[in-house]
Amino acid sequence: MKGLIFNINRYSVHDGPGIRVTFFMKGCPLSCRWCHNPEGISPDPEIADQTERVGEKEFIKKEEAGKLYSAGDLVEILDRERIFMDKSGGGVTFSGGEPLFQADFLAEALSACRNSGYHTAVDTCGYTETSKLLAVMPFTELFLYDIKHIDDNIHYLNTGVSNALILNNFNVLMESGKDIIVRIPVIPGFNDDQSSLDQLRSFLISKKRNNLKRIDLLPYHKTGISKYRKFRRENKMDEVEQPGKERMLELKDYFSGTGIKIKIGG
């Protein structure tokens, strides 16, 4: 079996503990307005325009985003990075897109990584059949779990899907006792108003267990903008500014009220 991966990030230090390798898997059931990995949404390989500059001249290279790898291929990549993971308490993170979009391959890859002794994390939006989540659970040591909004309507309008399944899966995970880090993307105009924040905070307080290790507040950032150009997609976030440092510190303070450890950024 092979999985479709559109990016591999070494020295990944914001997707779980220590120095990690993050595999970005193609395909996502959501279409978030602020998505900073738009090339991860489609489940198929696609062509991107890569500019290659030589002096004053520019060349455009058609680059395929999305290559097929076997679980063994991935483990070989990790083996090269092993020493950095050993020294830092790091490991491997599967992200996307939505890694559970390729759930069978994900389970096989996670299992192979565990067999080789790597710490495994899955960065998920939670929108997946519960059976698939249960299938990868035995090989996953940490879930990075996105919770974007508690209000179902707002969630639907901005991500294209209802949050019912996401919140239900979250309950399943919390009950399983697996380590979880909740990630909240802080998106101006979407979830940074007081009422949205209050709902998020109350929800997290109500779900609090020992295995909820941390809440990461991920400030919206504009690094995805160039990708929209590259992949010739419409960007719906032109007007939106990145939240400033002070605002993020305010939010950190606010969420500290949950009694859960809070981190700005991953």
Binding site: R10, Y11, D15, I19, H36, N37, I83
Partner: protein, 790 residues
């Protein structure tokens, strides 16, 4: 640490002082050489008497508020010249005065002194003249073509560091050792008995000279104390006078005494000659700690006093720019920095963790003083705590390129391989940029940079240099003659062997000129076992002697070979004819080819074995060409991989290359990937860089540029610590971090006036961004910035 008003003022004075050429030393040395006193003396005694004459007659300088005294010139940043080593012509002086970067003010008065006194006596008599006369035609051809540089043409051999001995002994103790050594001379059986006696006599004169110099300061300090109205300063001056009467004659007993003791020695070494990398206190935390602890226990030293002393001590280094260089030497080492590298951490002589309170205190001093000199590094052993590394990262993140990080275990293993004792190896460290040495016991000399990519260029042109239009190398054939990649590799190997031999033959002559004409009896007092061996530092008197040739452009040459193999021999997408046309045209009109060479050809620095195997192959060829070849002072030749700024000079003599690099552009520096070639992030760079066998070198240099975002929280400190520890577990020798974003650098280039204090890591040292040539500025901007994109 809170910087006192005193230190603030001295620091500012040092930063504001203008680098000026002083004629004082040149005048005194010339006066001595012309006098009757200099006649009929053996070389060592003549040099000792010259040293004595200099210290007896040079102006004293006591800055207002200073606690440590002694200057090489008449005042801070007044920099002497060394005409017996190399003579500046009037034209050289004009260039020094006018050049945009690293200039020295040359007054009309100094110019006149040069014209009337210095040049008439030394013209044709400096050691540089001697060397240039002695070198063979093939050496000159290679030197002019930019195959290698010559360290000793303008400066004396140095790269030397103080060890335990000098911090625990006074010069009266050393005089006792000299007497014992004289008593042991065996006139019956030893044919060198007379030479030994003359050398020891010279050392004895030099020891007396430094004590006399300190006494001159004591007298002057007493005079100032008498005139001083402020009772606090009066008291200070009196105490300083007492200290100058104690050290360096006797071993220091307090922190203040030790710093003054060292400083007199430092001034002595850099006044006697102009050794490369000035001189260096080495493992300063180890040396200071016992006295610091004792004084803290007895209550004789407050923390405020300690910081004041250390602040004053730091300023002293900054007062001493590297002596003015010219020509190729100025290009290969274009900086005011004189490469003192204070070592912190590492292990004790018994192998245990050496990090102590003084290690942390000195890191504070480095952080707060934030000046170019002295440079600083942390030796990181498996045994050192993470908190020590975190403290270092705290300073690294502020972006002035200090301290750099070194692998203690690698440094020890490199030295054990060279046959040093385990204790001497543990007492060693790195000096200059990254050079491994046994502190206090070794004369480890750098002899010149070696242009690996240029030699490949010659290999493709039958040994003919298109730039100078001279047959420089062996006639091994033209590019298209090489039917296979292996044939090309064999020819390249033959050329490297040839040029290494030319360089080594030159070295062996040049070393003898220093041993014969320019011995250093003062430096010989300090480095073991010169007294015991009754032999000069410049003549193999030290316990260990090693001579280095520094390979430059490993990343570039790897990418060039990789590209040739990939595009011409393996995939056959280009013919030699096409490649040569494109590079001969500097890619003008061949941008499509250049684009594939840059973007679609494997590169070193991405943990790609296809490319990295060529780094290993070139490294081994270079190593085998040099390593173990005898030098002419009882040691052997070895290799290093570091460039200072020579990768810019070497690039300027090298045409367009098969990796897509344009003609005259800088080569890669140290063992870092070519600028912009590493696309997979720092772990891949470290993996690539660790494929060569660092333990077979005397130092490698790896520069990593990080955006400030990588230093923002506790987790990122942990990851950086793990990154460093991983590289060192892979036997990496050294890594340094440049923390500044490309935007800031571009702004600084546009508005230099607003960024006068911007210090960046260059290659093994830090420098003011504004003092760098534009090429080097651009290169630093281009070096990959590792950003977190996800």
């Amino acid at each position: 640490m809170i910087i006192s008003e005193r230190v603030k003022k001295l620091r500012k004075e040092s930063l504001d002082a203008v680098e000026t050429l002083s004629a004082e030393r040149a005048q005194l040395i010339t006066m001595f050489y012309k006098s009757d006193a200099a006649r009929e003396l053996s070389s060592p005694v003549k040099r000792a008497r010259a040293f004595e004459f200099l210290l007896k007659n040079k102006a004293l300088y006591i800055g207002e508020g200073e606690l440590i005294v002694g200057e090489r010139g008449p005042a801070p940043k007044q920099t002497p010249s060394y005409p017996e080593v190399s003579l500046h012509s009037l034209e050289d002086l004009d260039i020094l005065n006018k050049r945009e970067k690293v200039s020295f003010l040359v007054t009309e008065e100094v110019r006149n002194i040069y014209r009337e006194q210095i040049i008439p006596y030394w013209k044709g008599r400096s050691n540089r003249d001697r060397i240039m006369d002695l070198m063979a035609p093939e050496w000159h051809k290679a030197y002019n073509a930019g195959i290698f540089t010559e360290f000793q043409e303008q400066r004396a051999p140095g790269h030397t560091v103080a060890g335990y001995k000098i911090f625990t002994k006074g010069f009266l103790d050393l005089k006792d050792e000299i007497s014992k050594s004289i008593a042991h001379i065996d006139y019956l059986n030893d044919p060198l008995a007379y030479n030994k006696y003359e050398e020891l006599k010279a050392m004895n004169i030099a020891a007396d000279a430094i004590i006399m110099y300190a006494e001159r300061y004591a007298v002057e300090l007493d005079n100032l104390a008498l005139k001083e109205d402020d009772p606090v300063r009066k008291n200070e001056l009196t105490r300083m006078a007492e200290i100058c009467r104690k050290v360096p004659a006797h071993a220091p007993g307090t922190v203040h005494e030790m710093l003054q003791h060292y400083w007199f020695i430092h001034v002595g070494v850099i006044s006697e000659l102009n050794p490369w990398d000035s001189f260096n206190p080495g493992r300063l935390d180890q040396h200071l700690y016992p006295l610091f602890k004792k004084e803290r226990e007895t209550g004789s030293l407050s923390m405020e006093e300690l910081y004041d002393l250390l602040g004053c001590f730091w300023v002293k280094f900054n007062n001493h720019p590297a002596p003015p260089k010219m020509g190729v030497t100025a290009s290969e080492s274009s900086t005011y920095t004189d490469f003192c590298l204070i070592n912190l951490g590492g292990v004790k002589p018994d192998g245990s963790d050496a990090v102590n309170e003084m290690s942390f205190i000195l890191l504070d001093v480095i952080k707060e003083m934030r000046i170019l000199q002295p440079g600083s590094m942390v030796q990181i052993s498996n045994k050192n705590p993470d908190t020590f590394i975190h403290k270092a990262i705290d300073i690294i993140r502020t972006g002035f390129g200090q301290p750099s990080c070194f692998n203690t275990e690698a440094i020890i293993q490199e030295q054990l391989r060279q046959g040093k004792s385990i204790t001497d190896s543990r007492n060693g460290g790195a000096s200059g940029c990254v050079e491994t040495g046994a502190f206090g016991t070794e004369a480890c000399w750098l002899t010149g940079y070696f242009n690996l990519p240029k030699i490949l260029e010659l290999t493709l042109n039958n040994g003919f240099d298109k730039r100078t239009k001279v047959q420089v190398g062996l006639q091994t054939g033209y590019a298209s003659d090489y039917k296979s990649f292996d044939e090309l590799t064999e020819a390249y190997k033959a050329q490297i062997n040839y040029f290494a031999a030319v360089k080594i033959k030159g070295n062996n002559i040049i070393m003898r000129t220093f041993a014969s004409f320019l011995p250093v009896p003062f430096l010989s007092l300090i480095i073991e076992d010169c007294i015991k061996n009754a032999r000069d530092y410049n003549d193999g008197g030290a316990r260990y002697n090693n001579s280095y040739i520094q390979g430059v452009g490993l990343g570039s040459v790897t990418d060039i070979l990789t590209s040739i193999r990939y595009n011409i021999y393996d995939r056959k997408t280009l013919t030699w004819d096409e490649m040569i046309k494109a590079t001969d045209a500097d890619f003008e009109g061949f941008e499509d080819i250049q684009r594939d060479l840059i973007y679609n050809t494997p590169k070193y620095g991405n943990d790609d074995d296809y490319a990295d195997q060529h780094a290993v192959a070139v490294f081994e060829i270079f190593h085998d060409a040099v390593n173990g070849k005898p030098d002419s002072r009882g040691g052997v030749h070895r290799i290093n991989m570091l460039p200072t700024t020579s990768h810019v000079y070497f690039g300027s003599v090298t045409g367009a290359t098969a990796d897509g690099r344009k003609a005259r552009k800088p080569l890669s520096e140290g063992i870092s990937p070519s600028q912009g070639a590493d696309k997979q992030g720092p772990t891949s760079v470290l993996r690539s860089a660790s494929k060569i066998d660092h333990l077979k070198t005397g130092g490698t240099l790896l520069n990593q540029k990080f955006a400030p975002q990588f230093f923002e929280d506790e987790d990122s400190y942990k990851c950086l610590t793990a990154l460093i520890r991983s590289y060192f577990a892979l036997d990496g020798h050294h890594i340094q971090f440049n923390v500044v974003d490309a935007y800031t650098l571009r702004e600084a280039q546009k508005h230099p006036e607003l960024y006068r204090d911007l210090i960046v890591r260059v290659a093994g040292y830090s420098d003011y961004f504004n003092d760098l040539g534009e090429d080097l500025q651009n290169e630093i901007i281009m070096r990959t910035e590792h950003r977190c994109e996800q």
